[in-house]
């Protein structure tokens, strides 16, 4: 056991947080649990397919401007000449508009679809990042320091978890928005990006508590372990103990939690946009399109199916991947 080299992965190797399953798996020593899990994941064909799908969407989102350029369209340009006087598109998919155009406005479906992947992914990753950071720090502090700090943080965790999440998210969006400069005197672009940040804030606000509770639990059991006691005994500063000794042991729950929360955030973003409290024009997003397209589903099913397929495929792939990640770290769940 090496006390002096907290930066190495030695501690992780010997004392994985989810120690039991790894021991149970009787894998040869010398590999970190993370490595082991990754190896397992790599052999999982379903998981790899999901990785492929998620990567596909990430690439679409990253290269959205390029793809739209390739098609020769932009997501915001109105082509009212392509819809008839009743608002119905006059033609289906063609060489200029690969997936046809939107009813009423005549905006390009393909461009809107590829750009629509962006907010979903950005919101999900950003909210996961913030949620994870806050959750880990809060969990570490509560578990390690104990006493009043623990009591206060635990109480806040309980509090956040006992709020009706969806209801609050819906109510918070306009309020946070009005606190952040208000929705008055803004240009559409400013307004849309405000909503964007508000959404990330609201989702991470409700996302950190669950992780913090798990981390706290893990830390409670870890802090009584010899390597931590030893580090404390020889006077390693608290901050170092927290982040160099404990944190590496928490990789498993953090990775699991993050991989499970990604699809949840994609779902939440699109859901809130569908309800009309998420993203707003002119940012194209799948949830908004679904809300509009439900009125047209009979006359123009393609318009509805595009975002539906986008969200379903992305969320499904992410969720199955998250499940596989959890199984890889903790095979006990599969049995």
């Amino acid at each position: 056991m090496s006390i002096g080299s907290p930066d190495s992965t030695v501690g992780v190797e010997d004392h994985p947080a989810s120690a039991e399953p790894v021991r149970a798996a009787t894998v040869a020593h010398g590999k970190s649990p993370t490595r082991i899990a990754m190896d397992r994941l790599r052999k999982d064909k379903l998981a790899m397919t999901c990785v492929g799908i998620v990567l596909f969407f990430i690439l679409i989102a990253v290269f959205a401007p390029l793809l739209a350029k390739l098609e020769g369209q932009t997501y915001g340009a109105f082509h009212t000449e392509l819809v008839d006087e009743f608002g119905y598109p006059t033609s289906g998919p063609n060489a200029q508009h690969w997936l046809g155009v939107e009813p009423k406005t005549g905006r390009d479906n393909f461009a809107r679809w590829v750009y629509g992947a962006r907010p979903s992914l950005i919101v999900a990753f950003a909210a996961t990042l913030f949620g994870t950071i806050v959750g880990v720090v809060a969990g570490l502090l509560a578990g390690f320091l104990g006493g009043w700090t623990d009591r206060v943080i635990s109480w806040i965790i309980d509090f956040v978890l006992s709020l009706p999440y969806l209801l609050f998210a819906i109510a918070l969006v306009p309020i946070v928005e009005s606190m952040r400069g208000g929705s008055f005197n803004l240009t559409p672009e400013e307004q849309a990006s405000t909503r964007f940040y508000v959404l990330i804030f609201v989702l991470s606000f409700f996302g950190w508590a669950g992780l913090a509770r798990i981390i706290r639990g893990e830390v409670l059991s870890l802090r009584e372990r010899e390597f931590v006691l030893a580090a404390k005994a020889i006077g390693v500063p608290t901050r170092q103990v927290l982040f160099k000794e404990l944190l590496p042991n928490l990789v498993a729950p953090i990775v699991i939690s993050a991989s499970l929360s990604l699809p949840a955030y994609v779902t939440a973003e699109a859901g809130l946009s569908f309800l009309g409290v998420g993203l707003v024009e002119p940012i194209p997003s799948w949830g908004q399109t679904i809300a509009v397209a439900t009125n047209w589903f009979k006359a123009y099913p393609l318009f509805l199916w595009l975002p539906v397929i986008g969200i379903t495929a992305l969320v499904l792939a992410m969720a199955l991947l998250g499940d596989a990640v959890r199984d890889a770290f903790d095979p006990k769940t599969r049995r």
């Binding site: 309980d158 006992s162 969806l166 109510a171 306009p174 606190m179 859901g271 379903t312 769940t333």
Partner: protein, 330 residues
């Protein structure tokens, strides 16, 4: 035990209190202007605006406003609009000037809808979910188990509102094989009540029973490997009796726990169902109020929903500690 209950009670009450303060702060201290939205668009003179402000006591210090609001919950309060006093009896959660009704009245008319929805949902997920889960647990490892579990995993990974929306569009409108949804009060016409809620129930039940199937499978697997089951088997009890009498009873405890928390949460989570199936419940009330900036209604709904969750949490905790004394130490 008494100490444990007391401690839990204090913590639960503190959560409710802080929710109250937090929502109040958000809605009344945030730069929104209830008086302006009440005053309306036409005929809103400065005099009338100020009059509304003083009628609503919005010109008083925030702390006093908060005290009045809180007091209203316990003893009721009066609102004065243009010389007419509207009494808002306890529990008064504010007054919606948009609709000219106490918030509690609006909640009262929306609540039966949501409760009907949640009740049917509860019955369906518990029966179907637990049934599938325990079947799978018993046949653990077989092809059937794997197929069942994979399909529940896939279904529960698709966003709920997509499933609900597609079913509602395709099976109640385009190919109307399911009855069209709508709410009729149970007391008015039980048949209509049932028919109107059937589709949302089915959608909710099918979608969420997958989660319960997975919970109960996990819990049953755990229970089935415990010593007392082995003992029961050793006694020579039949497989059926072991599974459904001994194991299910023990295995259900964590499922019911989750269920208790879930029910409170689903009061608020019914938003999508209500929106998609157009049921005038709490969720639709919130969305409508949001569109009208009718803040007292949103605040009242959020408070009630939070309180419901806290109460359920509390009950689950107490119930749990009765079953499993170790919990009290935590």
């Amino acid at each position: 035990m008494l100490y444990f209950v007391a401690r839990r009670l204090v913590s639960a009450l503190s959560v409710v209190l802080v929710t109250l303060i937090a929502t109040f702060t958000l809605f009344f201290v945030a730069p929104t202007d209830p008086a302006a939205s009440i005053c309306g668009e036409r005929n809103c003179t400065l005099q009338r605006y100020n009059e509304i402000k003083s009628n609503l006591h919005l010109d008083r210090p925030k702390v006093q406003q908060f005290a009045e609001y809180t007091a209203g919950i316990f003893v009721g309060r009066d609102f004065e609009t243009s010389g007419v006093v509207q009494h808002c009896g306890a529990p008064c959660l504010g007054y919606s000037f948009k609709n000219d009704r106490p918030v509690v009245d609006m909640l009262k008319s929306a609540l039966p809808v949501t409760v009907s929805l949640v009740l049917g949902y509860a019955v369906l997920v518990l029966t179907i979910g637990v049934f599938i889960g325990s079947m799978a647990a018993k046949r653990r490892g077989t092809l059937g188990d794997r197929a069942l579990m994979t399909s529940t995993l896939v279904l529960s990974s698709v966003p709920y509102y997509i499933v609900a929306l597609m079913i509602s569009l395709y099976f109640t409108i385009l190919y109307p094989i399911l009855p069209r949804s709508g709410y009729t009060a149970l007391t008015d016409n039980p048949g209509k009540w049932f028919a109107g809620l059937l589709t949302p129930w089915l959608v909710l039940g099918i979608y969420f029973c997958t989660q319960y199937a997975r919970f109960s499978r996990g819990s049953m697997v755990e229970t089935l490997s415990e010593d007392f089951i082995r003992t029961a088997r050793a006694k020579g009890l039949s497989d059926r009796v072991v599974t459904y009498k001994h194991a299910l009873r023990a295995g259900l405890i964590p499922v019911v726990t989750i269920f208790g928390l879930d029910i409170a949460g689903s009061l608020a989570g019914a938003i999508f169902t209500e929106k998609i199936f157009d049921l005038p419940g709490l969720g639709n009330l919130v969305i409508d109020s949001l569109n009208n900036y009718d803040l007292p209604v949103i605040m009242g709904t959020v408070l009630v929903a939070s309180a419901a969750i806290v109460v359920m949490n509390f009950l689950v905790d107490i119930g749990y500690s009765l079953i499993d004394p170790r919990v009290r130490l935590a």
